[in-house]
Subunit: 409 residues, 2 copies
């Protein structure tokens, strides 16, 4: 009988992430920046907006000229001109005066507020009635109100969503420095595994993990490099792991990592130059037979062969590592969590994290999470699932109605 | 004073989506299928798995041979051979016999369960002690247990995540029919708008909407085609809208859609061949000055010029339309929602949907959503925000502690 796993707990495994350097950086154009991780800290080199603007179509006024105005007691103002879009208004607005102003145009000298067109009536071409008073600053965005000169607007390590890209545009950034996408080699092993385009004989199955891991890597911001199916022998695994670690920032080997009669992944990884096995066995279910190794400054994961186990280990530990080396700063907090109520009791054992697949049922209030229980070699629960619920190391299970955090799928 | 908007409510607007045909379909390879929308319904052409498999490393047995086995009273079994990975086992397992079997290998004739290696001890090369009994089917995935022949595995209109791609791989699909990505033309208008690579004069601002809408379109599964900044004149808008509607499935025009002195978007759209203004004004805040038009069978949106308003109208109505023409079936339900508690009172008016930007604070139980209140011309709240909360048509506002659904950003 062979050695048992020396099972590591998940928080301990995550500490290893800091041992690996982030990937290099590169400059990309603004239109390629979506979803990338910012590799520079950006400071406002101007006030945004650069001038006080109207946010409605209406009349620029001194607010005091409207004080006390109402439907029954309108204020009368003299219209002395028009502000054109995109131009510096030449006039000054004095007390009792007003100028027509469109949305987005610059507030003229003297004006400190705008009356909406809907709250006025033109009596003739030079006089309006105003039916509501406005406060100073009302319907106006002040110069520098969004961001002011010298302020830090975006910090290194921040993911660029559409709104961050918009902010970069506002500051005239047509390109930006981002972290490169980490390159992740994907290897499948197992003598029962055949390529997707083969018809499996009895006893064989098609390679699912290469496809699911490819999608997970790309979605997590990496570049997936498939190495195909490798024969489950020491020589074959050693050779492909050597090539893959040389060409990638991270390597995933799925299958062949359990304590079985024919387990060569550990042996092959252990013999690569400057290699160190950091973890063999993880306190996760599914996902216990997981290996984490360092080969030079590259990360190598041995993932379980069971398709659902490989997906879940990816989400639980591989993806945070990938984001960390990809430049994301506060990766511990990264990722949104839904809140739901578990719809029935789920048993678990202390000393490990159990990942339960759930389907959400929306209604009023907090949604219900229905557990989808099945063996981790079956993919159908992951097809039906909306998310995963983690039952913590120190919990003996969940009771019906318990509030849980759901990791979206 | 010009006409007021004839404001349409949002649910009414969404009914128009069914008037537009979905885009055409195309075949893509499995590795290009992630995030695409399935345009065929897929049926299992084999059992998955195609044979009964062990899910652990251990010994294949007749379960009955282990009944009553325990640490103090082990069962003794004769080891009669080994099952090799990926091969059809030649032997039959009789009562009192067992064969070694690795994870994933095919169960031999006669065996109906597997004993984990950890629950056995080898006495010599042909005899083991078994310390736990197993039930029939234990540690085995049965033939067809994941999906059985003839079953519908994935339906048309379904988004392909990594797990759906994995399932396609399991069924040998190296390519798959998906809906084309809808092409979305993006036009910015406004005489105060200058390109991102220009230094704005006082009174001018850089074009933010082209960048944010580009990112939103790509993230929602479309192909963004920028048409740049168009002069705010009838002739210029007519000409670019004519070109854009001819080349796109949907066109977004931001700016120039309010009831102002210089509003030519409505006029230009109304004069395009076979054009119909469906909606002018939406019961949304921010986002009231929104136009929806049909030009032939193309969709045209006039979006507000304010950067946050344009983003929110995109999320609230444009994105569901885009998904609908992009082939998504149950688009009304699409999109996950977080549950949170609002951390302070927020006022709203009945008769419109108010979108409030929120930042989430996680803790035990349901997270708190902190409202970020600011003018819709300011981008900084969208930078800080984690999501949006919609206050419904019939609600007068939210009270501190109310449960709310959060649309993630």
């Amino acid at each position: 009988m062979k050695e048992f796993f020396n099972v590591a707990d998940v928080s301990h495994v995550m500490e290893y992430a800091n041992r690996f350097p982030p990937v290099a950086t590169e400059r990309v154009s603004l239109s390629e920046s979506y979803g990338r991780i910012l590799a520079e800290t950006i400071t406002a080199d101007l006030d945004l907006p650069g001038f006080s603007r109207s946010i409605v179509d209406g009349y620029a006024v001194r607010a005091a000229s409207t004080f006390g105005a109402s439907e029954s007691n309108p204020a009368f103002l003299n219209v002395t001109g028009d502000v054109a879009m995109g131009e510096i208004p030449g006039m000054t607005v004095h007390s009792g005066e007003t100028v027509r102003i469109p949305t987005g145009a610059m507030l003229p000298e003297g004006a400190d507020a705008v009356v909406m067109i809907e709250h006025t009536e033109a009596l003739d071409t030079t006089t309006i009635e105003v039916y509501r008073s406005v406060a100073p600053g009302q319907y106006v965005i002040e110069k520098g109100e969004d961001f002011s000169f010298g302020e830090t607007i975006l910090e290194e390590g921040r993911p660029i969503r559409f709104q961050e890209a918009g902010l970069l545009a506002a500051f005239g950034r047509t390109d930006v420095r981002v972290f490169k996408k980490p390159i992740v080699g994907i290897i499948s092993t197992g003598d029962e595994i055949v390529p997707v385009d083969h018809i499996p004989d009895t006893g064989q199955i098609r390679d699912i993990n290469s496809t699911t891991l490819f999608g997970q890597v790309q979605t997590a911001g990496g570049i997936a490099e498939p190495y195909g199916i490798v024969e489950d022998t020491y020589e074959a695994l050693f050779e492909v792991c050597r090539r893959a670690t040389a060409a990638s920032d991270m390597v995933l080997v799925s299958g062949g990592s359990s304590v079985g009669a024919r387990d060569f992944t550990m042996e092959a990884l252990g013999h690569l130059p400057d290699a160190e096995i950091l973890v063999h066995g993880l306190s996760l279910r599914p996902g216990k037979p997981t290996i984490l190794a360092r080969v030079g400054n590259k990360i190598v994961w041995g993932l379980p062969g069971h398709v659902v186990s490989a997906m879940i280990v990816f989400m639980a530990v591989v993806e945070p590592f990938l984001k960390r080396i990809g430049g994301v700063r506060r990766w511990e907090e990264a990722g949104l969590r839904f809140t739901a109520r578990i719809s029935r009791n789920v048993a678990s054992a202390q000393g490990r994290i159990d990942f339960v697949r759930v389907k959400l049922r929306h209604g009023d209030g907090v949604p219900w999470a229905d557990p989808l229980l099945a063996k981790s070699g079956l993919i159908h629960t992951m097809i039906k699932a909306d998310g995963l619920v983690a039952i913590g190391m120190n919990d003996e299970g969940l009771d019906e109605g318990d509030l849980v955090e759901v990791i979206p799928l």
